[in-house]
């Protein structure tokens, strides 16, 4: 049968954003795949070169509107490394809490998107409903639902609101019960498992070599998590485990993300207990010396986020480089796709958790 190229995107229900997956099909089997990105490229890194350091924080939020807290936090962490600022303990605890709440929110959005991909509308509605609770918590904390503009260079913007601990505990108690519901909805659904199991195989060797990071790497059975292995904020002060699955398929990537949500609840609970009153912010320098560099990497909900900055002697960066986890993971998409049927594409790419805002920058 004649082979042909098939364009899935830029406007396609599978894409979750604006990108194009070109696949070469022989009958229904994919023999080649080529992701095409760049539709959302805004020149983010170039724009930052003409902004002052604090002005870039709300811009960093817009890198990924689904996980904006982790990006503005990563930016602040990088500038703190550049300016050698020491963050007060309470700010670190608050940051750890909001980062984990953001991870849950982001994973819930991913689960909802996966639900629609696989034709289960309930799996779309339930996670979105519970995500709203986390958005409410964030709104209480900093006034915004999605682009928070909350971390600051040297701390956080404001202290936690009244009843912060009580509200978080209530939401977590409620959410953990609901999480079991989602697992029942997915794991006990024959259709879900037939579509997710044994597709999108990515071996541990390939995952490491191709730069796949985060839950997708741990779904391939590699026990690495930046939070544990290169700890930042307060992750080394709490007791938690890294979730790893060994089956290397789309279902394993799904399982890792579900387990991570439970682990995030666990981390938040411990942080709330251990948090003590104190300063939430120190005053950072306005300028950085010319040629001085700094970098930081964090465990974003989607993988390893990284920023590298060079000072310019004034209050603007000379260069700010962003490494987006999905930018690299999507370059490994052909490895996951080739050999499977065209109908498996939504399940495989759905398990990866695409976000184009950070990919194209």
């Amino acid at each position: 049968m004649a082979e042909m190229w098939l364009n899935m995107g830029p406007q396609h229900p599978m894409t979750h954003g604006l990108w194009n997956l070109r696949v070469k099909v022989d009958g229904e089997t994919m023999t080649e795949a080529e992701p095409v990105i760049g539709y959302l490229h805004r020149g983010w890194e170039k724009i930052t070169e003409s902004r002052k350091y604090p002005q870039i924080i709300p811009m960093a939020d817009r890198l990924c509107y689904g996980a904006s807290m982790s990006w503005s936090h990563l930016y602040c962490l990088t500038i703190e490394d550049l300016m050698e600022v020491e963050v007060p303990d309470r700010a670190k605890w608050i940051r750890t809490i909001v980062l984990e709440a953001q991870r849950i929110g982001s994973h819930l959005m991913w689960l909802a998107a996966l639900g629609t991909d696989l034709g289960s509308y309930t799996v779309f509605l339930y996670p979105v409903r519970e995500r709203e609770l986390f958005l409410d918590l964030m709104q209480n904390l900093c006034g915004a639902r999605m682009t928070y503009n909350y971390p600051r260079i040297g701390g956080v913007r404001n202290d936690v609101p009244a009843n912060f601990e009580r509200d978080f505990t209530r939401v977590l108690n409620h959410f953990e019960k609901r999480l079991s519901d989602y697992e029942a909805l997915c794991d006990q659904s024959t259709i879900f498992r037939m579509r997710m199991e044994d597709v999108g195989y990515l071996s541990a060797e390939k995952a490491k070599n191709l730069g796949v990071t985060g839950p997708n790497l741990r779904g391939s059975g590699v026990d690495y998590d930046v939070r544990r292995d290169d700890p930042y904020e307060m992750y080394d002060q709490v007791d938690w485990k890294v979730c790893v699955e060994k089956t290397c398929d789309a279902y394993a990537r799904y399982r890792v993300k579900m387990d991570e949500m439970r682990e995030s609840c666990n981390i938040i609970r411990q942080c709330i207990k251990k948090m003590k009153p104190g300063a939430i912010r120190v005053k950072p320098p306005r300028t950085a010396p010319k040629g001085k560099t700094g970098w930081a990497h964090v465990e974003d909900p989607r993988g390893e986020g990284f920023m590298y900055v060079i000072g310019n002697g004034d209050d603007r960066p000379y260069r700010l480089k962003v490494r987006s986890p999905i930018f690299v993971t999507v370059s490994a998409a052909p490895e996951m796709l080739v050999g499977y049927k065209v109908a498996d594409v939504p399940a495989i790419m759905g398990s990866v958790d695409m976000c184009l805002g950070e990919t194209d920058r």
Binding site: I37, G38, H41, G43, K208, G211, F327, V328, S331, A332
Partner: protein, 160 residues
């Protein structure tokens, strides 16, 4: 603690720095090494040799990032590599200086597939040529773009 999918590792950044300097005394200058960080300046000719050694003997499995820097006044370009060892929990920063009029460096994509799109993006934005790269084409900019927008002499805001 044994971790699945990974070599035993366990070396600190200082130890790795020593091993690298012993192996490449002329071409690599280690500027700083701590237990989980390693900073080095690398001669362009020694880059592939060093990276091969790091991957095969020192358990560096992962390319975190490859990025370019344009130093207009100094008339040079830099490529900055961040390479992570999962087993040793160390991230190394390698800086390679290139002349600004002929920015060319060997590609490391054949060692780590993860460097592929980073190098392609760096070419796309800075015009730094990665010799031996499998597909050095436009990635984020549209095909047919004739400028390298992240260079410092590119005037942003004009129509291209």
């Amino acid at each position: 603690m044994e971790r699945i999918g990974l070599a035993p590792g366990g070396k600190t950044g200082e130890v790795l720095a020593q091993e690298i300097v012993q192996r490449f005394p002329q071409d690599v200058t280690v500027t700083k090494a701590t237990h989980n960080r390693l900073y080095a300046k690398v001669d362009k000719a020694a880059l592939v040799g060093l990276c091969t050694y790091m991957r095969d003997s020192l358990d560096f499995e992962h390319v975190t990032s490859v990025g370019g820097v344009d130093w207009l006044e100094e008339k040079k370009m830099q490529v900055v590599y961040h390479i992570t060892s999962y087993a040793n929990k160390v991230t190394a920063e390698l800086v390679v200086d290139l002349p600004r009029d002929t920015p060319e460096v060997d590609s490391i994509t054949f060692l780590w597939g993860g460097a592929n799109w980073h190098e392609r993006e760096t070419w796309d934005m800075f015009g730094i040529v990665f010799v031996g790269h499998p597909k050095l084409e436009r990635l984020l900019n549209p095909d047919g773009t004739e400028v390298f927008p992240f260079r410092k002499d590119f005037v942003s805001g004009r129509r291209v």
